[in-house]
C-alpha cells in the first residue's frame, strides 16, 4: 500500500510540474511589455526596406495572431494552447524557417541532447560514486585526501569555464579535438558514428568533469558518516571482509541519498548541458534555443523550453519510480 501511495504521489507532482511549466510558458510572453507580432512586422519591414499599406498591415497582423494563437480572450487562448500542446504536440510553425513546424526541429535535436546528457551523467555519477566511496571508506589514506582536493577543486567550477579551458587546451594548444561540431547529415554508418564520437568528446568531457566534483564530495561525506554506524562496527567484529563492508554495507546505504541527489539536480545538469551545446555548436536543444533566441523565433523558443521541462520532469519521474527497487523501506512499509 505504501508503494502504491508513493507512486501516486510521484505522478501527481509530475503533472503539477508539467502544468506549471505549460502555464509559465503561456503567461510569460504575455506579461512582457514587448509584442512579438509588432517586433516581427518591424523586422520584416526593415528587411524589405519598405513599408506596407495599413490594410495589408492589418491583414498580416490578423494572420500572425492566428498562427501565434493570440486571437480571442485570454482564457480561450490558454485553453486552445493547452489543447494544441497536450493533445497534438503542436507548437505551431517556426518563423525563421516558415512554415516548417517547430516539432520537427525538436524531434531532430532531442536525441543529440538526450544522448549527450544520459551518457555523461551516467559516467560522472558512476565514476564519482566509486571514487567517493573509496575516499570516504579509507578516509585516512593519502589517496583519499588527493581525491577530496580534486572534488573541492572541481565542484564549484561552472560549466562554461570547464568548456573554455578544454577548448583552449585540446582545441588550440594541442589541436586534438575540433573547436565546434561539424557533422554532415546522412545515413548512420560506422564512419559517421566515429565522427559523432570524435565531435562529442569535448562537450561530454565538460559535463563529466563538473559532475564528478559533486558526486565525489557528496559520496565521500555519506560513506564516511555510514562507516561510523553501529552496524558497520558489528560487521567488522563479526569478521566480515573489509571489501564486503565497503560495497554491501557502506556503499549500498550511501547510494540512496545519491540517487535522490541525482534526481534533484537533473534540472541544473540539463541547464548546464544546454550551455555546453551552445558553446560547442552541438546540434541539440541548446543550440536550437540559442538560434531561436537570436532570430526571434518565438514558437520555436516556447516549444524547445516546454520540451526541456517535459524531459527533465519525465527523467525525474523515471528515477523516482525506479527508487523503490533500491530502497526496500518504501517497498515493505
Amino acid at each position: 500500500m505504501a508503494l502504491f501511495q508513493y507512486i501516486v504521489g510521484r505522478f501527481v507532482s509530475y503533472f503539477v510540474v508539467l502544468f506549471i511549466g505549460l502555464t509559465i510558458t503561456f503567461f510569460l510572453p504575455r506579461l512582457m511589455p514587448s509584442d512579438p507580432i509588432e517586433q516581427y512586422i518591424f523586422e520584416l519591414q526593415s528587411q524589405a526596406g519598405q513599408t506596407m499599406s495599413p490594410d495589408e498591415m492589418a491583414n498580416l497582423r490578423e494572420t500572425l495572431s492566428q498562427i501565434y494563437g493570440l486571437d480571442g480572450s485570454l482564457v480561450s487562448q490558454y485553453l486552445g494552447y493547452l489543447e494544441r500542446v497536450i493533445l497534438h504536440f503542436d507548437f505551431g510553425p517556426s518563423f525563421a524557417s516558415f512554415p516548417a513546424p517547430v516539432i520537427g526541429f525538436i524531434v531532430r535535436a532531442l536525441p543529440w541532447t538526450l544522448g549527450l546528457l544520459v551518457t555523461t551523467t551516467l559516467i560522472a555519477w558512476t565514476i564519482g560514486n566509486l571514487i567517493g566511496l573509496r575516499a570516504g571508506y579509507h578516509h585516512n589514506s593519502r589517496a583519499a585526501t588527493v581525491m577530496e582536493v580534486v572534488g573541492v577543486a572541481l565542484y564549484p567550477i561552472p560549466y562554461y569555464i570547464v568548456a573554455l579551458v578544454l577548448i583552449m587546451v585540446f582545441g588550440y594548444l594541442l589541436s586534438i579535438f575540433p573547436l565546434t561540431t561539424t557533422i554532415r547529415p546522412g545515413p548512420l554508418t560506422f564512419a559517421k558514428m566515429r565522427v559523432i564520437l570524435y565531435n562529442s568528446v569535448l562537450p561530454a568531457l565538460s559535463i563529466i568533469v563538473v559532475g564528478l566534483g559533486w558526486n565525489i564530495l557528496s559520496m565521500k561525506a555519506l560513506s564516511f558518516a555510514h562507516k561510523e554506524e553501529g552496524y558497520v562496527t558489528f560487521a567488522r567484529l563479526k569478521g566480515t571482509p573489509s571489501r564486503t563492508i565497503m560495497n554491501s554495507y557502506v556503499g549500498r546505504n550511501s547510494l540512496l541519498p545519491q540517487i535522490t541527489g541525482l534526481t534533484l539536480s537533473l534540472g541544473a545538469i540539463f541547464s548546464g548541458a544546454l550551455l555546453i551545446e551552445i558553446l560547442f555548436s552541438y546540434p541539440g536543444m541548446g543550440l536550437l534555443m540559442r538560434t531561436a533566441a537570436s532570430s526571434g523565433d518565438y514558437n520555436m523558443l516556447y516549444g524547445t523550453i516546454l520540451v526541456t521541462i517535459f524531459a527533465v520532469a519525465t527523467a525525474t519521474l523515471v528515477l523516482d519510480l525506479i527508487y523503490p527497487v533500491f530502497d526496500p523501506r518504501i517497498r515493505y512499509r
Binding site: S13, V17, I20, I24, L28, S34, V152, Y160, Y298, T304
Partner: protein, 274 residues
C-alpha cells in the same frame, strides 16, 4: 570555536577579492568599458598588468570591475533568496500541516524546472535591454527553493527536540519559539546557503552573459568572456583575454565554496561537542 583550514583559505581568498575589487576602482575613475582608451593588443607590462585587448581596453581594470559587479549582483540577489528560504522553510518545517504540503510541492516544482531556458526566453523578450533588475527578479524567483528545502528539514527535526517542548510548556508563543529557539540552529545553515546562493547567482548570470543574453555592456565575469569569444581572442592568440577571467572566476568560486563548506564543518563539529 576553531577555524579549520578550509575556512581560513576561503576567507583569505574572499577578503582579497572583495577588498581588491571594491577599493581599487577608487584609484581609477576611468570607464573600463570605453573602447580605444589604449593601443590595441598590448602584451602584459607594468602599465597594463594583463595587457590590453582588441578593443583597446585595459584587461586588468575590466576584470576588477567585473569581479565587483558580479559580487554585487550575487550578494544582493542572495540576500533575498536566503530571506525567503528562511521564512518559507521555517513556516513549512515548524508550523507544518497543510502549509508544509503546499510549500513542499511548490519547492519541488521550482527545483524541477530548469532555470536557464526560462532566462533565455526572458532575455529574448526584452531583447537588447536586458537589465540586471529583470535577471535578478528571475534569479530570486527560482533561487529560494533549495535553501527552503534544507531549512525545512532542519526545522522539522528540531520540532521534536526536548528544549522546544520546554519552551512550549513555559508558555512561549509560536512566533517566539521560532525566532528564539529554532532560528539560532537554522542560522548556520542559512549562512552556508547564502554563500552557495552567491555562487549560483554569479554563475547563472555569467552563463547568460557568455552567450550574449545578459547585459554585456556592464562588466561581469561573464560579459568579459562574451567579448573575448566575440572577437575570437583565442584565434588571434589573445590568450590573456580568456585566461584572466577564467582564473579569476575559478579563484573566486573556490574562495566562496571553501568558505561555505569550511563554515559548515566548523558548525558541525561545534554542534557535535555541545
Amino acid at each position: 570555536m576553531k577555524m579549520n583550514n578550509r575556512l581560513k583559505i576561503g576567507i583569505v581568498i574572499l577578503t582579497i577579492m572583495v577588498l581588491g575589487s571594491f577599493l581599487l576602482p577608487l584609484f581609477h575613475d576611468a570607464d573600463p568599458t570605453k573602447q580605444g582608451t589604449f593601443p590595441k593588443n598590448l602584451p602584459p607590462s607594468l602599465a597594463h598588468v594583463l595587457g590590453t585587448n582588441s578593443l583597446g581596453q585595459d584587461l586588468f581594470w575590466w576584470l576588477v570591475y567585473a569581479v565587483r559587479n558580479s559580487l554585487i549582483l550575487g550578494v544582493s540577489v542572495s540576500i533575498f533568496t536566503t530571506l525567503i528560504a528562511g521564512t518559507v522553510g521555517l513556516t513549512a518545517g515548524y508550523i507544518g500541516g497543510g502549509s508544509d504540503r503546499v510549500i513542499m510541492t511548490l519547492t519541488d516544482v521550482i527545483i524541477a524546472i530548469p532555470v536557464f531556458p526560462i532566462l533565455i526566453v526572458l532575455a529574448t523578450l526584452v531583447r537588447g535591454q536586458t537589465s540586471f533588475l529583470i535577471v535578478s527578479v528571475i534569479l530570486i524567483f527560482f533561487g529560494w527553493a533549495w535553501g527552503a528545502r534544507r531549512v525545512r528539514s532542519m526545522a522539522l527535526s528540531l520540532r521534536e527536540r526536548e528544549f522546544i517542548n520546554v519552551a512550549k510548556f513555559s508558555g512561549s508563543t509560536t512566533l517566539k519559539i521560532v525566532f528564539r529557539e529554532v532560528f539560532p540552529y537554522v542560522f548556520a545553515f542559512m549562512v552556508v546557503d547564502f554563500i552557495n546562493a552567491i555562487l549560483w547567482v554569479i554563475n547563472t548570470e555569467a552563463a547568460l552573459a557568455v552567450i550574449g543574453l545578459s547585459n554585456v555592456e556592464i562588466p561581469t565575469l561573464g560579459s568579459i568572456v562574451f567579448w573575448a569569444l566575440n572577437y575570437n581572442a583565442l584565434f588571434i592568440g589573445q590568450y590573456m583575454w580568456i585566461v584572466a577571467p577564467v582564473v579569476a572566476t575559478v579563484v573566486l568560486f573556490l574562495g566562496l565554496f571553501l568558505t561555505s563548506t569550511g563554515y559548515n564543518q566548523m558548525y558541525a563539529t561545534r554542534r557535535g561537542h555541545s
